[in-house]
C-alpha cells in the first residue's frame, strides 16, 4: 500500500485538532480545581459533585429529558407511519412531497423559532412543555422520516408478498415483518432525534415558557452571570451523552439485519 503523503497526515491532524480541541479543553477544565481561568490547580471531581447538588440544574435536566423523550417518541410514531405511507406502492411519490418534508431540516432554525412563536402567540397557546415538544417535532419528524424511508427502500417487497401469501393480513405484515425489519432504523432515528432535541437551543429559546427551562437554556443563563467550572462540567456531561447517543445510533444502523434477500447471503 502506498503511504499517505506527510502533508496529508498533518492536514488531517490539524483538522481533527480544530474540531475537537475546544471539547477536550472543556472536558479537561471541568476537572480543574481552580475556580477561575484556565490555570491548572489540580484534579478534582468537585464541580461534578456541585452539579449533582444543584436543584435548578437537575430540574432543567429532567425537563430536557422529558421533552426529548416526548418529542422523539411522537416523532417516531408519526414518522414511521408517514414513511410507510409514502413508500407503499400506492404512495405519493412526487418530488415536491419530498421537498416539503425535508424543508424544516434546511431552513434556518432561527426562522423556525420565530415562526413557531408567532403561531403559538396567534393561537394563544400557553408557552411551556407542550410548545417546546411541538417545536422539537418540527425538526425531529423530517429527520425520522428520512431515516425510516431510506431503510424501507432497502426492504425487499418480496418479503411482504411472502407474508401475505402465508396468510398475513396487512396489519400482521406490519407487526411481524415491516416493523421488526425497521427496528434498527427506528432505534437510530430515535437516538439521533433524542440527541438533537436534548441539545437544541434556538427553537427552545423562542418557544419556552416559565418553568420549562431546558438544559441548554440553563447553561446560557448561567453563562450570562459568568463562566464557572460548573458549566464546564455540565457541558462535558452533555457532550459525552450526545456522543454516546449519536454513536449508538450509527452503530445500530450499521449492524442491522441484511436489507435485501439477495445481498444478504
Amino acid at each position: 500500500m502506498k503511504r499517505m503523503p506527510t502533508s496529508f497526515i498533518v492536514m488531517s491532524l490539524l483538522v481533527m485538532l480544530f474540531l475537537y480541541l475546544p471539547v477536550v479543553i472543556l472536558i479537561a477544565l471541568s476537572f480543574n480545581a481552580s475556580t477561575m481561568g484556565v490555570a491548572w490547580k489540580g484534579f478534582t471531581f468537585q464541580w461534578y459533585e456541585k452539579l449533582a447538588m444543584d436543584q435548578a440544574i437537575l430540574e432543567a435536566t429532567v425537563n430536557s429529558v422529558v421533552i426529548a423523550l416526548a418529542s422523539t417518541g411522537l416523532a417516531l410514531i408519526l414518522g414511521v407511519g408517514t414513511a410507510i405511507g409514502l413508500e407503499t406502492r400506492q404512495g405519493v411519490q412526487r418530488p415536491w412531497v419530498n421537498m416539503v418534508l425535508v424543508l424544516p431540516l434546511v431552513i434556518p432554525e432561527i426562522l423556525l423559532g420565530v415562526a413557531l412563536l408567532m403561531v403559538f402567540v396567534l393561537c394563544q397557546v400557553h408557552l411551556g412543555f407542550g410548545t417546546i415538544i411541538i417545536g422539537h417535532m418540527v425538526f425531529n419528524l423530517p429527520l425520522t422520516i428520512v431515516i425510516i424511508r431510506a431503510r424501507l427502500r432497502k426492504l425487499d417487497p418480496a418479503w411482504e408478498d411472502a407474508a401475505r401469501d402465508l396468510g398475513a393480513t396487512s396489519w400482521a405484515v406490519l407487526t411481524h415483518i415491516t416493523l421488526p425489519l425497521l427496528r434498527p432504523a427506528i432505534w437510530g432515528a430515535g437516538l439521533l432525534g433524542f440527541t438533537v432535541s436534548l441539545d437544541d437551543f434556538v427553537v427552545t429559546f423562542f418557544v419556552a415558557g416559565p418553568g420549562s427551562t431546558t438544559l441548554p437554556l440553563k447553561v446560557f443563563s448561567m453563562i450570562k452571570t459568568g463562566m464557572t467550572p460548573e458549566i464546564n462540567a455540565l457541558s462535558a456531561v452533555m457532550v459525552v451523552v450526545s456522543m454516546v447517543c449519536v454513536g449508538l445510533s450509527w452503530f445500530v444502523q450499521q449492524r442491522s439485519t441484511p436489507a435485501s434477500s439477495e445481498s444478504s447471503y
Partner: protein, 366 residues
C-alpha cells in the same frame, strides 16, 4: 381427475404492457405443471394472479372449482416459493416455517409438530435456530419449500425455483421436487425459463411468449409437435428454413426457397399447409458429410463448415447454408472422428423428409 386451477380468459396489464393476454388454462390436481417462457413473457404474473398477490383486469380464476378472482391471498389454499426465496431475515428457520401456521392461529403444540415434520421432510433437522443468512443456497431453498408446504396448500407455486442454484445442486433439487410432490400430493405449478428443467420435471408444459399462451401439452408433445417455430425454438435448438409450399399431397410437401434447393417434408396426411411456412430440423437429426450422395436421404443442401464445437460425447458442427443462415448438426463423437470435417470445407447437409417439421410461418393464436 378434477381440475385444481383454472384460468379463464385472464388479462393483466402492467402500465402499457399486457403481461398476461387472454390466457385460459386448466391444470389438473396432482399435476406437475410448468410454465415455460423467456423473461418478460408473463409467467411470473400468472403465478402472482393465482396466489392473489395481483388481481386480473379481466377474466376469472378458479381453484378447486371455486371462483377466487377477488379473494385476498390469505383466503386461498395456495402457497408460493419465491424466486429469491424471500425468507424473513429476522426470523429463524423454525419461525420462518411456522409463520403461515401462526397466522392461521394454530395451537403452539400443533405448530411445533407440523414444523418439525416438514423440516424432516426437507432434511433440515438441527438447523431450526439458524437465521436464513447462515444457510447455504440449497438450504435456503428447502426452507422456502418447507415454509410453503407446511400450510398443506392444494397448489404450490414455484417461481424459478432452481434459478439461483448452481448446476449440481439444481439437478439434486429437481429430484427433490419430484419426491416432495409425491409425498405431499399437491398440484405443483412451476415457472421457469429453462427448457430442460421443464421437460424433465413436468407432466405438462405451457409455453408462453409475450403474455400469450402458445402451446400446452406433455413434454413429448411439445418437443415432437411444436405448434409454431417460436415454441420449437424455445423448447430446444432447432434449425430453421423459411419457404413456400409448392406442392402438398399424401402428407408429403415440397417447400421451395429462393436460394436453396427445394426440400421435402412430411406432414399429417389430413392437413395440407399452404403459403409461407417454416421448416425445422433438430440438430441431432441432421447429417453432415463431404460426400454428396450418402444413403439416399430425401433432402440435401450445400453448406460450408463455419465452426466446430467439441462437447465430450459429440461434436456440434455449425454450417453456413447458401442463404447465410447457420445450421447446427450434432454428430456422435465416433462418427465425427471417422471422417473429420474442417472449418471452411464445403459439405452437404442431409436429412429424411419425416425428420423435418413444417409449421405455418405465422401461427394462429392459440
Amino acid at each position: 381427475m378434477n381440475e385444481s386451477v383454472v384460468l379463464d380468459k385472464v388479462i393483466k396489464t402492467h402500465g402499457l404492457v399486457r403481461a398476461v393476454d387472454h390466457v385460459s388454462l386448466s391444470i389438473q390436481s396432482g399435476e406437475f405443471f410448468s410454465i415455460l417462457g423467456p423473461s418478460g413473457s408473463g409467467k411470473t404474473t400468472i403465478l402472482r394472479l393465482i396466489a392473489g398477490l395481483d388481481r386480473p383486469d379481466q377474466g376469472d380464476i378458479f381453484i378447486q372449482q371455486r371462483v377466487v378472482t377477488l379473494d385476498p391471498p390469505h383466503e386461498r389454499p395456495v402457497n408460493m416459493v419465491f424466486q429469491h426465496y424471500a425468507l424473513f431475515p429476522h426470523l429463524s428457520v423454525f419461525e420462518n416455517v411456522a409463520f403461515g401456521l401462526q397466522m392461521k392461529g394454530e395451537r403452539q403444540a400443533n405448530i411445533q409438530k407440523a414444523v418439525s415434520h416438514m423440516l424432516a421432510l426437507v432434511r433440515l433437522q438441527g438447523k431450526e435456530n439458524r437465521l436464513p443468512g447462515q444457510l447455504s443456497g440449497g438450504e435456503q431453498q428447502r426452507v422456502a419449500l418447507a415454509r410453503a408446504l407446511v400450510n398443506r396448500p392444494v397448489v404450490l407455486l414455484l417461481d424459478e425455483p432452481l434459478a439461483a442454484l448452481d448446476q449440481q445442486l439444481r439437478q439434486e433439487m429437481q429430484g427433490e421436487l419430484k419426491r416432495l410432490q409425491r409425498e405431499v400430493q399437491a398440484t405443483f405449478i412451476c415457472v421457469t425459463h429453462q427448457q430442460d428443467e421443464a421437460l424433465m420435471l413436468s407432466d405438462r408444459i405451457a409455453v408462453m411468449h409475450g403474455g400469450k399462451l402458445l402451446q400446452v401439452g406433455t413434454p413429448q408433445e411439445i418437443y415432437d409437435h411444436p405448434v409454431s417455430s417460436t415454441v420449437a425454438q424455445f423448447i430446444g435448438l432447432s434449425n430453421v428454413l423459411s419457404g413456400n409450399i409448392a406442392r402438398c399431397e399424401g402428407g408429403l410437401c415440397r417447400v421451395e426457397h429462393g436460394v436453396l434447393s427445394p426440400v421435402m417434408v412430411t406432414c399429417f396426411p389430413h392437413d395440407s399447409p399452404q403459403g409461407a411456412v417454416t421448416v425445422m430440423v433438430r440438430p441431432e437429426r441432421v447429417h453432415v458429410s463431404s460426400d454428396m450422395s450418402v444413403n439416399g436421404y430425401d433432402n440435401m443442401l450445400q453448406a460450408i463448415v463455419h465452426h466446430v464445437a467439441f462437447s465430450g460425447n459429440e461434436v456440434v458442427y455449425h454450417v453456413r447454408l447458401r442463404d447465410e443462415t447457420i445450421w447446427m448438426a450434432r454428430v456422435p463423437i465416433a462418427e465425427a472422428q471417422a471422417c473429420p470435417l474442417a472449418v471452411g470445407q464445403p459439405v452437404y447437409v442431409h436429412w429424411w423428409a419425416h425428420e423435418g417439421l413444417v409449421l405455418p410461418a405465422h401461427p394462429a393464436p392459440c
